[in-house]
């Protein structure tokens, strides 16, 4: 089982890194989420789940006994993973909200098209056609923005 788990973790890392190399913000965020889940599984693997088998017990004190019977599986990584999952959930919620407000504000999802037009040449990619400048955005009523129209 550990071999399969290792391959799964490797697959998640690969998928996460691949998505993070893309230019779409949403894909980067999805990549981060997959990467973080790979890391969570990795910690779980550190607790050596293979050993919960016929002769290795789950870490619960059996009835009538005073303490855990050797050998038992390590419960600590599961506590760590639980914490990491909760933190990861909060962070992903924040990044998605950030992506939404970036799209509302700038009308783009492409990280290259996000650059401040005052500092660099205007982007030439197709996606950048939607790019609206800061001043134009401020003068338009919120309901008329491209981002809110598509996003809601």
């Amino acid at each position: 089982m550990v071999t399969w788990l290792a391959m799964l973790i490797g697959g998640l890392y690969a998928a996460g890194f691949y998505l993070m190399l893309r230019r779409s913000l949403i894909k980067i965020i999805l990549g981060l989420a997959i990467f973080a889940h790979g890391a969570n599984l990795m910690i779980l693997a550190a607790g050596n789940p293979r050993r919960v088998d016929v002769d290795v017990k789950i870490p619960i004190v059996p009835e009538g006994a005073e303490q855990l019977l050797q050998p038992y599986a390590d419960p600590l990584p599961q506590a760590l993973v639980l914490t990491a999952i909760v933190i990861g959930f909060g962070l992903q919620a924040f990044t998605l909200a950030l992506a939404k407000s970036v799209y509302d504000r700038m009308g783009v999802d492409d990280v290259d098209a996000m650059r401040d037009p005052d500092l660099t040449e205007p982007p030439t990619r197709r996606d950048a056609q939607e790019l609206v400048s800061h001043e134009e955005l401020d003068s338009v009523a919120p309901a008329a923005l491209p981002g809110t129209a598509v996003g809601s």
Binding site: I28, F35, A36, A45, A46, A84, F94, A99, D116
Partner: protein, 501 residues
């Protein structure tokens, strides 16, 4: 006395809660916030004093013995960093009321600031790698929101880069933590220090050390992981930039210092050489890049990168003198970077722009402000007797002792470039005649009034820098004692695990 260890975590938490309760009343929030920061400063001062007189303080949460329970530890380095972060927090709270603007204050600026301090204090106090991860995340979450608060276009753009790169760093940190647990079966730092030394497979430990180097290097803004910093630090209000510049990268440096003096010390020929190369590149690149920038905050952002390089070089050298230099460097740099960004904010308030082309003319009209700026710039450049000079001197001396010509050249070049960059800011931003103003005169009177109040905390921090200059001897003695604790982890191990180990 051990119970003091809980206060730097509890005080910001309670203050954040009270500020949230008062969320509609900004004036009340300001006073509550200031009161909380004063209480935090007093508590950390007491802790600092206790650690100095009694040695390492340890508390085991719920009396569960280490390595099974949650351990809080304060040695000399932690106690110093806690005190510095409280002072920086106090200065920024006093500064924020005049500079952040009511709109942002209404959107929970103060509770977020206290949660940020909570995460930072937790990172300095924890004796457990996984809890360090949790405290990092608390700190990061608050910093994400503070950075994006206000939702200006530039903020969101900088925020995206900052958030993504920091999340990658966190995921790498988590991976490294999981693998380390799989290898040695513990995450308590004192226990790790013992078990890693006994672990026979050096390749595994070296790979883990590199993962931690990437994770903490990203947080500390070490070359080549640093590009999120100049892309984001110039976008939020100056108060937010000031607290970030003063504290966030230093938390990364602290983690590097902890890990590479206590845990990964078995194969310094490999690990510490890699850190040395990154440090030298960071010093020179940061100082060079600072010269190419016009925006005052981008100049300082690249200077942060260069400074982190100096500190990482000390970690790489690892001699008692070099580590003492790093501790001294940290002691003055938290105050210095915070102060530079706050003074930049005053200039921005007066002229409506932080661009060096729009500044200037302060020497004739604002001599007090100019002198405050001069103190900080000379400290940045490392001019004696100001406190920037002594750690640089100690670092240069320990680099010469190793006989590595390239590193000596990098230190001298970076120090020279930093001096040049400081002169550029001084002559372009302060000394030369003012360019024609763009602001309305009615607006200007109000800005002058705000700027005067914003200078009060900046003057306090500048006074602290002068105090460092006067007390350089005692500070260096303290730094040497802190380095001694770091380089002899058995004292730390005994304090945490008990006498039997």
């Amino acid at each position: 006395m051990e119970n003091l260890l809980v206060l730097p975590i509890v005080i910001p938490l309670v203050t954040a809660g009270f500020c949230l309760l008062a969320s509609r009343r900004i004036r009340l929030q300001r006073s509550l916030s200031l009161f909380g920061m004063v209480a935090l400063t007093i508590a950390t001062l007491a802790l600092f004093d206790a650690v100095r007189s009694e040695g390492i303080l340890v508390i085991q949460a719920g009396a569960w013995p280490a390595p099974y329970g949650i351990t809080l530890v304060a040695d000399r380095l932690s106690a110093m960093m806690l005190l510095l972060s409280a002072i920086a927090g106090l200065a920024v709270t006093a500064y924020a009321g005049w500079s952040v603007g009511e709109r942002r204050e209404r959107f929970h600026f103060y509770p977020l600031l206290h949660v940020l301090l909570l995460g930072i204090s937790g990172s300095f106090l924890t004796g457990d790698l996984f809890n360090l991860y949790v405290c990092f995340e608390v700190m990061l979450m608050a910093s994400f929101v503070l950075l994006c608060l206000g939702g200006e276009r530039a903020q969101l753009e900088g925020g995206v880069k900052y958030v993504i790169l920091n999340l990658i760093s966190s995921a790498i940190f988590l991976t490294a933590t999981g693998l380390l647990y799989g290898a040695v079966g513990t995450l308590n730092m004192a226990d790790l220090s013992v078990r890693i030394a006994q672990y026979e497979n050096r390749e595994v430990i070296n790979s883990l050390a590199m993962l931690f180097l990437v994770a903490f290097g990203l947080k500390a803004a070490l070359f080549p992981f640093a590009f999120w910093l100049p892309a984001s630090y110039h976008t939020p209000p100056f108060a937010v930039s000031a607290i970030f510049a003063g504290l966030l990268t230093k938390v990364g440096v602290y983690a590097l210092l902890r890990v590479f003096t206590m845990l990964f010390v078995g194969d310094p020929d490999f690990t510490h050489t890699v850190i040395g190369i990154l440090a030298a590149a960071s010093m020179v690149f940061g100082a060079l890049a600072a010269l190419s920038q016009k925006d005052i905050r981008r100049v300082f952002a690249f200077q942060i990168m260069s400074t982190v390089g100096f500190m990482a070089l000390g970690i790489a050298l690892g001699t008692p003198l070099a580590i003492a230099a790093v501790v001294f460097y940290l002691a003055q740099d938290v105050i210095l970077k915070c102060n530079l960004f706050m003074l930049g904010g005053v200039a921005d308030k007066l002229r409506g722009s932080g661009n060096l082309d729009k500044l200037g003319g302060f020497w004739k009209t604002k001599p007090f402000f100019s002198i405050l700026f001069l103190i900080s710039l000379l400290t940045l450049a490392g001019v004696p007797p100001l406190p920037g000079f002594w750690p640089k001197l100690a670092l240069l001396r320990s680099t010469i002792e190793t006989g590595e010509g390239v590193l000596v050249a990098a230190v001298v070049l970076a120090a020279f470039l930093t001096l040049f960059s400081s002169i550029r800011i001084w002559s372009g931003g302060i000394w030369r005649d003012a360019p024609p103003p763009d602001l309305e005169p009615t607006d200007l009177a109000e800005r002058e009034k705000d700027a005067r109040w914003m200078m009060v905390p900046a003057a306090g921090l500048s006074g602290l820098l002068l105090a460092y200059a006067l007390a350089a001897g005692p500070v260096f003695d303290y730094a040497e004692a802190a380095a001694d604790q770091l380089l002899n982890p058995q004292v730390y191990v005994q304090a945490v695990l008990g006498e039997g180990n």
